[in-house]
Symmetry: C2
DNA sequence: TCCACATTTCCAATAATATGGAAACGTTAG
DNA sequence: CTAACGTTTCCATATTATTGGAAATGTGGA
C-alpha cells in the first residue's frame, strides 16, 4: 500500500458518519446492505449519505453493486488488512521488541 | 475504544506529515526520537512539526517525554491495537465468515 | 547570570471538507 | 409508456484543518 492510499482510507474513516457506515458494513459482512437501509439506520439524508458512500468507495474501503433498484454496499476487508499492515510496517526497525512480538502473534 | 477517540486517531493519521511521523516513530520503537530529528528527517519547519506532534499526542498515538533539552517522541502501540480492534468489531455480526476467520487468526 | 539551543505558542492566510435541498438519473413494476 | 422508487449529482453555504514566520517558553552549559 502506498502513502496516498493509506491517507485516503484513514481520512475516509476519520468522520463520524463514515465510520458508522463502515462499522455497519463490517457487521453486515459480505452480504452487504442497501444504501437506503444505511441511511435510514443512521438518519442521514440521501445526498449526505451518497457523499459519504462515495468517499468510502474512493478509499477502497467499501464497494457498491447494483441489485435491482438497490445499490448494495459492502466492506472491503482486504483493503483494511493492507491498511493495518502499512501502519505497523518495519515496526521497531525490524528488531525483536515488544510491539513486534505482539504483531507477530497477530499474523 | 469510543467513536470519538477512534475518529481522532484516524484523523491524526490521515495526513501526509503526521502519517510519516507516525511511521517513523513505529520504526524507532519504544526508544523514540527527538522532535528535532523528526523535523530534520522530514523537512518540516518547527511550528508545523510541533502542530502535528500535538495532533498525534492528542489522538493518543504518540507521546513525548522531556529528556534534557530534547523532547523525545515515541509511538503508543497499545492505542493502535485498540483502534484496529474497534474497526473490526462485530465483524459479520459475530457469525462465522471469511473475514471473521481471518480476524481470528490475527489474535 | 547569560547565552545558545530545542520546542512550543500565537496568529493570520489559505485550503480542504461536510451538509442537505432540489433536481436529475437509472431501474423496475404496472 | 408512465409512474414510483432508490440513488446520485449539482450547488451554495458553513465548518474545520493546514501552513509557517515570529515571538515566547523551557532547558542546560559556561
Amino acid at each position: 500500500m502506498e502513502s496516498k492510499q493509506a491517507i485516503q482510507a484513514l481520512g475516509a474513516l476519520a468522520q463520524e458518519s463514515r465510520l458508522k457506515i463502515y462499522r455497519l458494513l463490517v457487521e453486515a459482512g459480505p452480504q452487504g446492505m442497501a444504501a437506503g437501509d444505511i441511511g435510514e439506520k443512521l438518519g442521514l439524508p440521501p445526498a449526505t449519505l451518497s457523499f459519504h458512500l462515495a468517499g468510502l468507495s474512493r478509499a477502497g474501503l467499501a464497494k457498491g453493486r447494483q441489485e435491482g433498484r438497490f445499490v448494495i454496499y459492502s466492506a472491503d476487508f482486504q483493503n483494511m488488512d493492507a491498511l493495518v499492515g502499512y501502519l505497523t510496517e518495519n515496526c521497531c526497525g525490524g528488531q525483536a521488541c515488544a510491539p513486534a512480538a505482539k504483531a507477530q502473534r497477530r499474523r
